[in-house]
Amino acid sequence: MKLDPVTLATPLFIITIILEIVAARLGKARANYEPRDTAVSLVMGLGSTMSGVFTAGVVAASTVWVYQHRLFDIPMTAVWAWAAIFVLEDLVYYWFHRISHERRFWWAAHVNHHTSQHYNLSTALRQTWTGGIAGTWSLWLALAFLGFPPAMIATQKGISLVYQYWIHTEVIGRMPRWFEAVFNTPSHHRVHHARNAVYLDRNYAGILIVWDKLFGTFQPELDDVPCKYGVVKNLGTFNILRVAFHEWIAMGADVLKHPRHALGYVFGPPGWSHDGSRETSATLKARANVSAGVGANALDAGAGGQGAEALS
């Protein structure tokens, strides 16, 4: 039995979900749980641990191979090494997460995490079944090439995942200002899960929100724009197989239908189409911005901005 941070934290996941549900039931906390939505989230989480088994060997073997060709010898026992991997792994996570939103091939794997119309602790566990196939794990090979031992990389990845669990909640409003300035928080991550135009493709951070501020993707939660969760075209099924594979199937269908534009349909941004008949995050944001003029509230297309085209 492997004892990585995620496995060790599993009892904490269970206990805190129980607490969130009971607190909401008693009217002590803000949280909504729809049973079938919760079932999908939790079964996706359970399935992701199983699907990970199939690609774990390839990931581990690749990491070890790259580590054998490393630039430096970084000791796993040094404090500075842990400080360095904390920062560098989080930087890798930021770019993994950004590419997972901005290019359809990787979005097909990541979209599962965003398909709930709810934002509660169970949503955190709605994880992909196809991440190994999408190959985004290869981004972390850079750390092995630098010389970080594979076990150290795996541990830090686990720590990052566990950190990101607690921010999937509406129970916590805002953390102290200094904390919000440096770290990813429930408020920042609510923005990330929202489908309002102003919030699309923002706040990719894992632990440190500073990456979004550095790379221009930061968006604070606006008091006058309540988050509406889910994806631009929300799911209309609780069928777990459709939930897990719908974007892969849709992408395959687009490629078969328009083979000359296959590259665009696979590696273009989600919503890209060869004839411009669909909308990407960029076009949605631009339309909301143009139609609404200035003002944060007006930027929210979901709240009734006057656009020229419908969501498609």
């Binding site: 039931r25 919760t38 209309g236 085209e309 419908a310």
Partner: protein
């Protein structure tokens, strides 16, 4: 799969089942009332900003609505404690299967395959073309 992994998986599955049962017991889904004309139009404006709506048909149980917007049909149907919206060609909506007071609309989308709306009749005679 080794014994330890099997036990770990079984315990996780049991925990998942218990949490789903707890969520069902708690009854803390969002309250979602039936759609009326004003609410349906507001929802259509949210989901299809800028689209003009020529006519709206509200499901008799308030669980959805279908609107005509030029050559397109805008469909909203309840999903869990929320709503899902899609647009399809009007002709496709008109030719949808209608039986026993239920309109079954093929949304042609793997992620939202079908919407079912309770309506007194279909298609509307004056707007079928």
């Amino acid at each position: 799969m080794g014994d330890e992994a099997l036990i770990q998986f079984a315990l996780s599955a049991a925990a998942v089942a218990a949490l789903i049962a707890l969520a069902a017991w708690a009854k803390i889904a969002r309250p979602v009332g039936p759609l009326d004309d004003a609410r349906a139009r507001a929802l259509l404006a949210e989901e299809f900003p800028g689209r003009s709506v020529d006519a709206v048909w509200i499901a008799s149980d308030g669980a959805g609505a279908l609107a005509r917007s030029g050559g397109m049909a805008l469909v909203i149907c309840r999903f869990g404690d929320g709503f899902v919206a899609r647009q399809i060609p009007w002709a496709q909506a008109v030719s949808s299967s209608f039986r026993d007071g239920r309109l079954s609309v093929d949304l042609a989308d793997i992620a939202a395959p079908r919407a079912t709306l309770s309506l007194p009749s279909w298609p509307p005679k004056n707007l079928a073309a």
